[in-house]
């Protein structure tokens, strides 16, 4: 046989497995009630779809646009975010449009993180942070959110960082900390005080902050989303990431953006021009138009940014109730569209299930086959040290239409009956 020495590069060694590849395949069966992967099965608002149809009908909008972001989109983003950040944002130099927030995370990490750097990641974390940091030859340093046993109600607010523990994670090699608020999977909305603790450390150690705020509009009653970049000294060291998929319930559009100071964004732009160069034009134009519509009504409760949040709050409450009625203790999220729940109280014995996977992986696979209900195991969102701590939790996604939640209700009610 011919010689063939070609294997993968060092940078992707060990990065081939992925929880989604495993679980989206398993849950693709239409008979399964899918509360796993975070995608809406509700329709995007009709004006959003209409704007895409309008854009696609314009000939020149089917050809290349400006690499760093379609002009009308970066203009619209700058207007919306000037209001939100309370500062001037230059559409051409302070914004980069990317293929989803995923693409923004990738561009930021590749632009600003050097081999040998350390990057602090708060556990549980959206799973791509770890492999992306490893791919640039940097070292992920994990710190878990810990449940403070403060009473009966389990809320995402009960999950906190220990300030002393956090401070210990910072050293001269710490290039950045990745913050995700509202948080996936727990749904925590970091308070101003909590953000200040992080900001103080960033300033003290000259550390960057990569702030994944894709769920920024999905914040429930009584809570407020605060942008860490608005804290003193933070704008100059923060990249704030947003997502059209989460803002407008169009995950399949894969458009996101990074906003920050020019001296940081320019490096993300260099990565972008050497990775995929431009994002699709008609989608960007449609998104720009949708943003103008909602920008004009940002003081109106009918603005989609707020109406979606209200719609999801009632789904959140329903989901929490269903789980409680099934004898479970869900962690009620203050934001986002995910809810985690400790399933160890169900006492499902999986010790005879083969394989070395953590308990929650086995539990979800068992739940999919025997209960026809899917979720995502929480240990997928943890570093190696904390997998045991989180392996009794699974994550449900509740941005689902009523009939999906009805079907989940049936399963959960019957489950309870069987174990009674």
């Amino acid at each position: 046989t011919m010689a063939f020495r070609h294997k993968n590069t060092r940078r992707i060694e060990g990065l081939d497995s992925n929880v989604w590849v495993e679980f989206t395949k398993v849950a693709a069966d239409p008979s399964i009630v899918n509360l796993g992967q975070g995608l809406p099965d509700i329709s995007p608002p009709s004006y959003v779809k209409e704007e895409l149809a309008k854009a696609a009908a314009v000939d020149r909008l089917n050809q290349y646009t400006r690499g760093f972001g379609h002009p009308s989109l970066v203009k619209a983003l700058s207007q919306v975010y000037e209001r939100v950040f309370g500062r001037k944002i230059d559409p051409l130099s302070d914004i980069l449009v990317t293929v989803g927030a995923y693409g923004s995370l990738f561009s930021t990490i590749h632009a600003l993180i050097e081999e040998g750097d350390e990057v602090i990641i708060i556990e549980p974390f959206y799973d791509c942070y770890e492999p992306m940091v490893k791919m640039v030859g940097a070292k992920p340093v994990f710190i878990p959110l810990r449940y403070k046993n403060d009473g009966n109600s389990a809320s995402s607010a009960d999950w906190v960082l220990d300030p002393a523990e956090l401070a210990n994670k910072f050293n001269s090699k710490t290039k950045a900390i990745i913050l995700n608020t509202p948080h996936n999977p727990i749904g925590k909305v970091f308070t101003r005080e909590e953000l200040q603790v992080i900001a103080d450390l960033c300033l003290k150690h000259d550390t960057l902050c990569i702030s994944d705020e894709v769920y920024e509009w999905l914040v429930y009653k009584g809570k407020k989303h605060i942008k860490i970049a608005t804290l003193p000294g933070m704008w100059e060291r923060t990249i704030t990431i947003g997502s059209a998929g989460k803002t407008y319930s169009v995950t399949g559009w894969k458009l996101g953006w990074s906003i920050g100071p020019q001296n940081l964004i320019k490096h993300l732009q260099v990565v972008h021009q050497n990775t995929l160069y431009t994002c699709p034009t008609p989608l960007q134009e449609a998104l720009a138009q949708a943003f103008w519509i909602d920008y004009k009504r940002m003081d109106d409760p009918d603005c989609y940014f707020y109406s979606l949040s209200r719609e999801l709050e009632s789904k959140r409450d329903r989901m929490a109730q269903l789980l409680q009625e099934a004898g479970l203790k869900p962690v009620v999220p203050d934001g986002g569209y995910f809810m985690i729940v400790d399933v160890s109280t169900l006492n499902v014995d999986l010790s005879d299930v083969a394989g070395k996977q953590p308990y929650d992986y086995k539990f979800v696979k068992w739940m999919i086959t025997s209960k026809k209900l899917s979720a995502i195991p929480l240990s997928a969102f943890c570093g190696p040290e904390t997998k045991r701590q989180f392996e009794k939790y699974i994550r449900f996604c509740f941005i689902k239409k009523d009939s999906t939640l009805d079907a989940a209700e049936v399963i959960l009610k019957n489950w309870n009956k069987q174990t009674a």
């Binding site: 011919m2 063939f4 070609h6 209409e50 050809q63 050497n274």
Partner: protein, 437 residues
């Protein structure tokens, strides 16, 4: 205040904020030239995109995907490629390659061919690996190799004099076999092949491909085959896929583009085709960089391909009609440039044409010791003063070789008749001004 900071913090603050992998790859001529074209041009034959729309059947498919009953086409699809699209690509390329292709493992969809190239370099090029790039080359190959820590090794296509009385053809630009062989070393990881070639329009012949293939097999080198212009070949020429040559399927990644295939560059849908043992690593890069590609356009492209597969080889096929249409435009532009004294190199493929501007040099004087190549200054002067945007050929050469072929400019002729006529008017007027002055 620095005396309050620890030494390690001072050291940190004195380091550049950006990563070393960005060194030397921050410049990009497109950013500059696209801006110039937007600001000054009345006729834009610069950047490579059609100014005519995608075909109706494709636009209709997109509309159906956007506004149809299935609103889930606005949500994530399969990360490695929307099932209907990978299935039809596997069918079509299976036919073209004479192989049974598995849509799940032999095909992966990307955000344009650009992202496919990126995934290939990240998947296979480690620090210190050498990658052979044939000049002139689509300019992103060099910075992508560098970003992966690799070392680009350049080998030029060299122009041979055309037959007496004939115009130069892209076929007259050839590799020197001995020179090519000398570029292969034990550090050579891959060679990038682009056929049909941007910017020259060269369509590599079977013999030329065999030359490359023999070296790849001999040295166990991968071939990254950028075939985005695969359907745009003229004069009855055949686009030959290097993966079909003996020993090449197992070491080749083929890259394609819906933007070029269906005149929809703004959709940014591309793909890789190859053996699973290579594609598995490309999937790893993809899942850690972009992960999903937009759904609706993939659905539309799948339907476009369905139609083309049914009409394959028939006169109504877009793959037959588009090259026919573009060949006419090519011939028209060749004629008009020839008449003006701007010597065209007749392209065998793509929608680009390179022309020698030596006759027009008097308007833009040479500046000795300038570090900007002549053709770049010429192109900038031309867009600002004549309103006609083109791209200088030196763009497609590495830094050290930018002055080797610095009196050529590249035109894109995938333009409406009116656009091409307007370009001709500008050049004719310019010629008249020169001869009368």
């Amino acid at each position: 205040q620095t005396h309050f900071l620890s030494l390690s913090l001072q050291a940190k603050m004195s380091r550049p904020v950006q990563a070393r992998r960005l060194e030397g790859i921050d410049k990009n001529i497109w950013v500059e030239f696209v801006k110039l074209a937007t600001t000054y041009s009345t006729v834009n034959l610069g950047q490579g995109f059609p100014d005519f729309p995608p075909p109706d059947f494709l636009k209709e498919a997109f509309m159906r995907a956007i506004s149809g009953e299935n609103h889930m086409l606005h949500q994530y699809t399969r990360a490695f490629g929307h099932p209907p699209l990978v299935k039809i690509l596997a069918q079509l390329f299976g036919k073209l390659l004479g192989r049974d292709l598995d849509p799940m493992t032999n095909v992966m969809v990307t955000v344009g061919a650009y992202q496919a190239l990126f995934c290939c370099f990240q998947a296979f090029v480690d620090e210190g690996d050498e990658v052979i790039i044939i000049e002139p080359f689509f300019d992103c190959y060099e910075p992508m190799v560098k970003m992966a820590g690799g070392k680009p090794v350049f080998v030029p296509l060299r122009p041979k004099a055309p037959k007496h009385g004939k115009l130069m053809s892209s076929a007259d630009w050839q590799l020197d076999p001995a020179e090519l062989a000398s570029k292969f070393s034990e550090r050579t990881k891959a060679i990038v092949l682009n056929s049909p070639n941007n910017p020259l329009g060269k369509v590599f012949s079977r013999e030329e491909l065999q030359l490359i293939a023999d070296l790849c097999v001999k040295h166990d080198v991968l071939c990254i085959s950028d075939e985005v212009y695969e359907w745009l070949v003229y004069d009855g020429k055949e686009h030959i896929r290097i993966a079909n040559l003996q020993g090449m399927w197992e070491r080749t990644v083929i890259i394609g583009s819906a933007g070029k295939t269906f005149s929809a560059t703004g959709w940014k849908v591309g793909w890789t085709v190859g053996p699973n043992r290579l594609l598995q690593h490309i999937r790893t890069v993809h899942q850690n960089s972009v992960y999903h590609c937009a759904t609706a356009a993939q659905e539309a492209v799948a339907q476009g391909f369905q139609r083309e597969l049914e009409l394959y080889g028939k006169p109504d096929s877009y793959f037959v009609q588009l090259p026919k249409l573009l060949q006419q435009k090519r011939d028209w532009l060749v004629q008009s440039l020839d008449a003006l004294g701007m010597k065209p190199i007749v392209p065998e493929g793509t929608y680009f044409l390179v022309a020698d501007i030596s006759e027009f040099k008097s308007d833009v004087p040479d500046v000795p010791d300038s570090d900007e190549p002549y053709d770049s200054r010429f192109a900038k002067w031309m867009v600002k003063n004549k309103g006609l945007a083109v791209i200088p050929l030196s763009t497609f050469y590495c830094g050290a070789h930018k002055n080797n072929y610095n009196h050529f400019i590249r035109f894109c002729f995938a333009k409406e008749e009116a656009t091409l006529k307007a370009a001709n008017d500008i050049l004719q007027k310019w010629k008249r001004e020169k001869t009368s002055s």
